[in-house]
Amino acid sequence: MTLPLTIENLTAHYGTTRVLEDLSLSVGAGELVSLLGASGCGKTTTLRLVAGFLEPTAGTIRLGGKDLTKLPAYKRDIGLVFQNYALFPHLSVLDNVAFGLKQRGVAAAEREKRARQMLDRVGLAQLAERLPGALSGGQKQRVALARALVIEPPLLMFDEPLSNLDAKLRVDMRVEIRQLQRANGTTSVYVTHDQEEAFSISDRVAIMNAGRIMQFDTPEVLYQRPANAFVARFVGFENLIPMRVSRRTGAEVTAEAPGGVALQFSQDKFGPIPDDFVLATRPDGLAVTSDPNVEGLPATLGLRTYLGRAYQYQCETEAGALIANGQLSPPLDIGAGAKLVPVPDQCCVLKPEHP
């Protein structure tokens, strides 16, 4: 069984502090959606509201046709995987997994059978009789996963489930989580602050900041076409250069960067370009050249660091400090003058930020 989750105009407060503002989000049936953002952005609050551990000040939460907003947590039928595993320390691994079935009145023999099957699926059948205290972090998280999956919930939620595991295990576990989620087709909400993790396992990702969703889209779109400066910075567009259009000729637009350097843009490629806009690039999207005849932003090269595939330069320009990657040979000298040329393929045109 799998159902879509619809969150509408959700607002929440801690005391008098507003932590979530008019948040709307819909997760399709069987979809895995991540809430991604730094701590304090409201992602965990959203999860706790959906789980029923917090009450919203306004808004509704619907799972399929059912309104969950006023339902107590234990009637919501949502599988939860916690950051600290939250296993019952006094119960064996088997009893931990069978706990949800017991609450649903499943007979003892049947729940043991189903719990063992689920433990088998997460590869822990041989540890069924152990107490959680005798397990490693990865094993604990597998038990937590089995415990949430065995009740076959219409919605699964993960609260930073991998942040207590080491790097290698994290990658293995996220693949495993994705496989289990796919196999069961369970609608899932996944909270994390790790961009790579969110992008690698999600169908769609909601990037959050200060209690709002900044952009909600597939990882591909977020990575290549961020909608605003916040998301752009978040996905690694470290250079944000304010531009002003000086001339329009058909689809061709000439815009000037601070310092008066004119650059050409095609609206066929970037879509409609407003008179004032922000050009966003990753370090790879700014080519560094010492050729004085090339049209580009004049820059003074600062610190040079070696990345293996390229040299990275901290550059001083009229548009502020920028980061650009230059080719390996020959390395350019620190303190030398150079030109920075935006690579059109790797640029984004954003609306200016209104602080």
């Binding site: 789980a51 234990y74 919501r76 949502i78 939860l80 939250a86 320390p89 006094h90 107490l131």
Partner: protein
Amino acid sequence: MKKRYAGWILASPATIAIGLFLILPVAATIASTFGDEKGLLAPYYAFFNSGFRRGVLWRTLEISLATTAISLVVGFLTAYVVAKSPGRLKSILIIAAVFPLLTGVVVRSFAFLILLGKNGILNNFLVGVGITDQPFSMLYTQGAVIAAMVYLFVPLMILTLVGVLENIPEDVVQASASLGASPAATFRQVIFPLAVPGLIVGAVLVFTGSFTSYATPQLVGGERQMVMGTLMYQRAMVSFDWVGASTIAAIMVVITISVVLAMSRIARRLNPMAT
């Protein structure tokens, strides 16, 4: 070499003190009960052949078990409320719970004399309100002793349990709810078993304290509610029957240890993590 002995050296002052002032006198007391010329176990036969003394032992067990049971329930409920309270209120409640401990046992037992006496506060109230026109005689009853002891020992129970309940992680309780357990089911299947180690520590403290108490039963119970502690005092200080008093002490030691062992066995059954 030095390292291996460092632990022993550090522990030695306490070890020596316990050996000298606890184990040795207790051993001597118990040993003195086996020196009777009428037979090795004669003092024990004497004790258990006396209907009066068996009655005292039985009464003491009744009083201390009732005190322990009531303190467990009252203490647990109070501790649960305290542990759930927000920070500032919690400190105030804990101080309020501990406050009676700042005065002595005798003072608090006297408080019960004032409370329960013929002209005591409770009787004056009952007569005043018109529930009864004759004051009840409440002092020197088993109920009075139990009430006074509960009053005496509940703060200990609360202190022990607040610590245990606070250590139950919030997300474990939430996990239980997310798996469909109602608040009552969560309490029964998660919170209570996780609190068992604390309940056992509290029960052991209260049982040993009330089973061996002297001042409270003496003041609130008097001659009529004689318990092992007061009986022992009477044997030793009034009758100068040192062997009889030592026999009572030995029986009390054995019972206390057995009850403590039985309680930790129950604890392990309810919660495999408890020791």
